[in-house]
């Protein structure tokens, strides 16, 4: 056999059980990658088909029709046509069908038959069919479709998997193709005319599947790919469509009409029974989608989800944090003679690993919930309930879970945008998620409110400001999404047509497996970037080093205690580090927001992680490392801080205006390295991550200036 890897593609409607079957066929030998240049994940794995035949199995995203509507579906079509650069056409196709809805599922199969590739049909969810009393004559079906293998399976129960392996081996050996339908003669000749014209115009012969895409699809993707230009094709395609119209079909409806008519005949006598149990969806929907009870249950479920991501994850996050601290304390003494290495290892490397590990509990918990919600069938209902609230600004019902999770942490929120099928809504949601007031903003608000708002205006105003700050991000995210979907993203909006599947008990092993895969992907992709960022920031704050610093401080003020010398040294060190110098240099930029150089350094140092501002302020105000939001010393140091020079000389730095400006800045600014890394991972490149970064940061600056300048004039 040649060294060329044999690939087999799993194709089918969404929710038919492709991924479940894929897992059953490949076990743990899976790879998750990306198709070149697009965000669609490429899941592949090795499948053993007996007799030493090993094939690469590819799990493609689900789709209903080859007349691709969304860019994601286009990828599937391109992969199958072998026209996606850097990806070879599969050697065979395994179509996975939901046996309880055979007619609809066969529509895609019937389109796939036109690709003229070896093909096998897997009728999945046989257990449900059995429950409903459906009997399928697979032999008759196979016979009607030209002898392609037709296998009945229950991927969920692991039944029939061996026959799928055998079927794959069989189609690869015998190259069995599914019978193609006979087009009405006018349609046939319209297709022929297109093939002819392309051959004349471009010199290459297109497949009949290509001709069908050109004739039946409203987009020009296929023509463009074949290099058949607009002026060349215009009149030909119009004439061909007129021919279809003459046959009595609207050209845009001809394909489903003809396929469905054909399939109704194919299925005659194939299905028997099915009058039995009708499934549980109607009865459960009556409660779960009830006008009053439905939303109440929805809120309850979502509160549970949020509480878990927010509170439950705190414990393992604390363990990770203590683990990191413990490791630092263990290793630090061993490196005490090489301070640079000591700092690199503890504040750079160990902190860098901790920086992305700490997200894992939230990611795992959120994906556990999402897995349960999706597999149980509730997720589609949640989207159904919420869609109205989101549709007007270009998002859809599926944006809710990502945005809600964003209030705990943007990272799991961003990862969960994967559940949104419409690429436009997905990107807009991903863009909105980092605006949600995540838990890392909390310490900043807490410090400012406790140190300034509370003492000056009382606890009532303190809570008002606290709640207000949590809404600021949302206030800006919604119009941003609106503008983005309406005016910026040029992708055609996808209709929100959503199947409400039957309810089902989720299978624990599947849910856990997907939870694990999502986490592993985060660690391998975003994790490395987060790690690298931490090291870079460490270096900026560490270098250059002035070895005599503490001696000089001691000499200047001999009465200082050992602890005070240490704090002063740290403050002086950060002042003359690259970061400190940079902070002083750019302070004029932040001057209109009322930030002095210490705040500016704090702001800059917290670009990788916003909560760092608290400990950075601790260092710059000589409180020492490890200051927390509830540190009394830090609060009083900040309350006493005065401008040293300039027009505001000896007025407090932290005036009400500056405090509010600082909080608004933190509410809006893109100060989270992991978010940027994850955004890049999820949008398939740095473009949107960069746009998000600059947009949020500039917006934050503008709003901070506005707040400062307005408040300072009012009060």
């Amino acid at each position: 056999m040649s060294s060329k890897q044999i690939t087999v593609a799993l194709v089918g409607n969404p929710n038919t059980g492709k991924s479940t079957l894929f897992n059953a066929l490949t076990g743990l030998r899976q790879k998750v990658g990306n198709y070149p240049g697009v965000t669609v994940a490429r899941k592949s794995g090795r499948c053993d088909c007996g007799d030493g035949l090993k094939v690469e199995l590819v799990d493609l995203p689900g789709l209903y029709s080859l007349a691709a509507a969304s860019p994601d579906e286009q990828v599937v079509t391109d992969v199958l046509l072998g026209s996606l650069e850097g990806s070879q056409q599969p050697d065979a196709i395994v179509v996975v069908l939901d046996v309880t809805n055979l007619l609809r599922n066969l529509f895609l199969a019937s389109q796939l038959a036109e690709l003229n590739l070896p093909l096998a049909l897997v009728l999945n969810q046989a257990d449900i069919a059995h429950e409903q009393g459906l009997k399928i004559d697979t032999q008759l079906l196979s016979q009607r479709l030209g002898g392609v293998p037709v296998v009945l399976t229950s991927a969920w129960k692991g039944e029939g998997i061996a026959s799928v392996r055998r079927a794959i081996a069989e189609v690869l050996n015998k190259k069995t193709k599914m019978t193609q339908l006979t087009w009405p003669s006018q349609v046939e000749s319209a297709l022929g005319a297109i093939v002819q014209a392309i051959q004349t115009d471009t010199g290459q012969a297109p497949s009949s599947a290509d001709a069908q895409r050109i004739l039946f699809s409203s987009n020009a993707h296929t023509s463009d790919r074949l290099g058949w230009s607009q002026p060349q094709r215009e009149s030909i395609v119009r004439q061909a469509r007129d021919q279809v119209r003459a046959a009595g079909y609207n050209p845009m409806a001809a394909e489903p009409l003809i396929h469905y008519a054909h399939l109704r005949k194919v299925l005659e006598g194939v299905i028997a029974g099915g009058t039995g149990k009708q499934g549980n969806a109607a009865a459960l929907d009556r409660v779960l989608l009830h006008r009053v009870i439905g939303p109440i249950l929805f809120i309850g479920i979502m509160l549970g989800l949020f509480a878990s991501v927010f509170w439950l994850a705190k414990f393992p996050m604390q363990w990770i944090q203590s683990g990191v601290d413990f490791l630092k304390a263990m290793i630090a003494p061993a490196l005490v003679n090489t301070p640079m290495l000591q700092s690199l290892v503890t504040d750079g490397i160990i902190a860098g690993v901790g920086a992305f590990l700490v997200f894992l509990p939230q990611i795992l918990i959120l994906f556990l919930f999402i897995g349960i919600l999706e597999d149980s069938g509730y997720m589609a209902r949640a989207a159904f309930i919420m869609d109205r609230l989101f549709s007007w600004c270009g998002l859809n019902g599926k944006s809710f879970v990502p945005l809600l999770s964003g209030f705990a942490c943007a990272i799991p929120g961003l990862l969960s945008t994967r559940t949104i099928e419409d690429p436009k809504a997905r990107l807009a949601t991903a863009f909105a998620v980092p605006f949600m007031s995540c838990s890392a903003r909390f310490p900043v608000y807490a410090l400012m409110c406790a140190a300034f708002i509370g003492p000056l205006y009382g606890p009532g105003w303190e809570s008002v400001v606290m709640v207000g700050m949590h809404c600021v991000g949302l206030l800006f995210a919604v119009p941003t999404a609106f503008v983005l979907t309406r005016f910026v993203l040029k992708v055609k909006p996808q209709p929100f047509v959503l199947e409400l599947p039957r309810y089902q008990m989720p299978k624990p092993s599947d849910v856990l497996w997907r939870m694990w895969q999502n986490a592993a992907e985060f660690v391998s992709k975003a994790g490395t970037v987060i790690f690298a960022m931490t090291i870079v920031i460490w270096a900026l704050c560490y270098f250059p080093r002035d070895a005599q610093m503490s001696d000089r401080i001691k000499a200047a003020e001999p009465t200082l205690s050992e602890h005070e010398i240490q704090s002063r040294t740290q403050a002086a060190m950060i002042e003359q580090s690259w970061m400190g110098r940079f902070g002083k240099a750019v302070q004029p930029v932040f001057d209109p927001c009322g930030f002095d150089w210490k705040i500016t350094v704090g702001v800059l140092a917290s670009f990788p992680a916003r909560e760092v501002i608290v400990s950075t302020l601790g260092v710059t105000y000589s409180i020492g490392k490890g200051a927390e939001a509830d540190s009394q010393h830090l609060r009083s140091a900040m309350q006493e801080a005065k401008w040293m020079d300039g027009p505001r000389k000896s007025t407090p730095i932290f005036s009400l205006a500056a405090v509010l400006a600082l909080m608004v800045f933190f509410a809006l600014c893109s100060q989270c390295g992991p978010t940027i890394a994850t955004l890049a991972q999820e949008t398939g490149g740095w473009k949107w991550a960069a746009i998000s970064f600059f947009y949020m940061t500039i917006l934050a600056w503008v709003m901070a200036v506005v707040v400062y300048q307005v408040v300072i004039r009012l009060i």
């Binding site: 309880t100 007619l103 199947e499």
Partner: protein
């Protein structure tokens, strides 16, 4: 001849026409909703939109604004196709 949006929850109808040039209608046709097909408006979402319709043994949610072109005939006394999968 009634636009789908005017169906009451629980009401049946037969699809008379749709607009094949629209993306929503194309998607619905791929799902098997073709002229002549019986459908039922199962329910509206708690906020009034979207709606869930049932046809060919499946329940699908769509936004009313996007489904404007669906015209149904409610006069015909047609039950939603049962049993499932009967071609």
């Amino acid at each position: 001849m009634t636009p789908l949006s005017q169906l009451l929850p629980g009401q049946f109808g037969k699809l008379v026409s749709l607009n094949p040039d629209q993306a929503v209608d194309q998607r619905l046709m791929a799902l098997g909703l073709l002229p002549g097909m019986a459908l039922k408006l199962v329910r509206r979402a708690p906020l009034g939109d979207p709606v869930a319709i049932e046809f060919g043994g499946q329940v699908v949610s769509l936004r009313l604004a996007e489904a404007e072109s669906l015209i149904v005939d409610v006069a015909a006394d047609c039950p939603v196709q049962r049993p499932k999968n009967t071609p």
